[in-house]
């Protein structure tokens, strides 16, 4: 048994080193391939939250988040395409299930300049109201422990099978870290969009916040998640199903995006 064990252990350490090099190389490639919206990049990915079986938050009068955010996203797409020189890709253009990973993948596969996930908020508190914009929060210690776990796993070396596992693990680590390179730009984008929401919606300013939203994690470009009003609040639910209000949300995000893209071009 020992004789079989030893080469495996060596192999494991080698795999670990190779793994680290791979992670570093791939991260480098990721940064190189996805610079912050250079002149050639002309795609904005809009992500209407939820869809299909996942209805999202629900209102007292029967409105559901997935419908409201799709309506807003379609309006926003039209606004962008008729006013800006950008192509818009929607993660869904009808009521259907789309996994959170596929939403991020769509942004990455299209070399998106910007990714905006659109939501309406839901709360346990009946009176909760207002709009806010999120960008990803990074838990650095957690990433550290993930990397550590990865190193330990590979160093342990339990035979040839681990090689396949390594690949998955590397992909997982990479995927989880994609947004980390863009957090500063994402915070800037969140700030600019939030400012427009405050001006146009007359909903309470809940500010910009950081949260660990799965959908933002794997996106390799500036990415934010907009929570326009609370569908769980009956008053705001009425506004959210109103066509004019939806158009104002779309307009606010559009203005925020335009301002952000202008800033990028100036840099």
């Amino acid at each position: 048994m020992r004789i079989i064990d030893r080469p495996n252990k060596k192999g494991g350490t080698r795999t670990a080193k190779a793994g680290i090099v791979l992670v570093a190389a791939a991260l480098g490639a990721l940064l190189f391939l996805c610079p912050a919206a250079s002149a050639q990049q002309r795609t904005i990915v809009l992500d209407p939250g939820h869809g299909g079986l996942d209805v999202g938050a629900k209102g007292k009068f029967g409105a559901v988040e997935k419908d409201v955010v799709l309506a807003i996203s379609l309006k926003l797409k039209a606004l962008i395409e008729s006013n800006l020189d950008y192509r818009v890709v929607l993660t869904r253009d009808k009521d259907m299930d789309v996994s959170l990973e596929n939403r991020a993948a769509l942004a990455n596969n299209n070399d998106a300049a910007v990714f905006v996930s659109l939501h309406a908020n839901g709360s346990f508190r009946k009176k909760a109201h207002g709009s806010e914009t999120f960008f990803l929060s990074l838990n650095s210690t957690d990433e550290e422990s993930r990397k550590l776990a990865y190193q330990e796993n590979t160093a342990a070396g339990v035979g040839d099978r681990i090689v396949e596992d390594d690949k998955n693990l590397i992909q997982m680590i990479l995927w989880d870290m994609a947004q980390s390179a863009y957090v500063r730009q994402s915070s800037r984008l969140a700030e600019i969009i939030q400012r427009e929401l405050n001006v146009l919606l007359a909903t309470e300013n809940r500010g910009i916040k950081q949260a660990d939203f799965k959908v933002l994690r794997g996106v390799a470009c500036p990415a934010v998640l907009v929570e326009a009003a609370f569908i769980s609040n009956p008053e705001e639910e009425q506004r959210l199903i109103d066509d004019a209000f939806q158009a104002r949300v779309a307009d606010a995000v559009f203005r925020g995006l335009s301002a952000y893209l202008r800033l990028l071009r100036r840099d």
Binding site: G49, G122, S123, K126, T141, A211, F213, K214, I231
Partner: protein, 192 residues
Amino acid sequence: MAKFRTPLVILLAVLLVGLVYLFIASISPERIANRAETPETPADVALLAEETRTVTLFFPREDDGLFVPETRSIPASGSIAQEAEAVLNELIKGSSKGLPSALPPEAKVGQVFVTKDGTAYADFSKDLVVAHPSGSDAETSTVFAIVDTLAFNFKSIKKVFILVDGEEKETLNGHVTLDRAFTPDFSLVAKD
């Protein structure tokens, strides 16, 4: 080797008999009868009081969602896992002061397991997800009500991994990631 075996066996037998005697004595009918009676003397009340522990629960307040503390008493079992389960059960029961609850009342606590490095794995029935209203705000409240409450009451709990039906979930209900352990965020506790 064989020489040592006989005395060892005798020693073990004596120990075993002693233990069995102690066990039987501890559950003698007299004691069982005493336990069944309602405590009357102050001494008995004090004894019962010793067996409970005061814990702090966090509930979001209506106007801004910041957590406010509420105290409860739970049986003090001495086991962190058991006490943590009791704390989470109290959290699910909801506020006694009429504050909104951050967990759906349908949710049930499975087991809590605390690792040496201070990560608590808190398992809930799938009702935590199925009966959840969804929404960023609601999901954030749920996660941090659980994490802050556990970390506040148990010094050895540094972070909390929330499981559903014994398994890791991608998100709570479409927004907040559940595939990692959360460290507490006490900035969500109201300062006034």
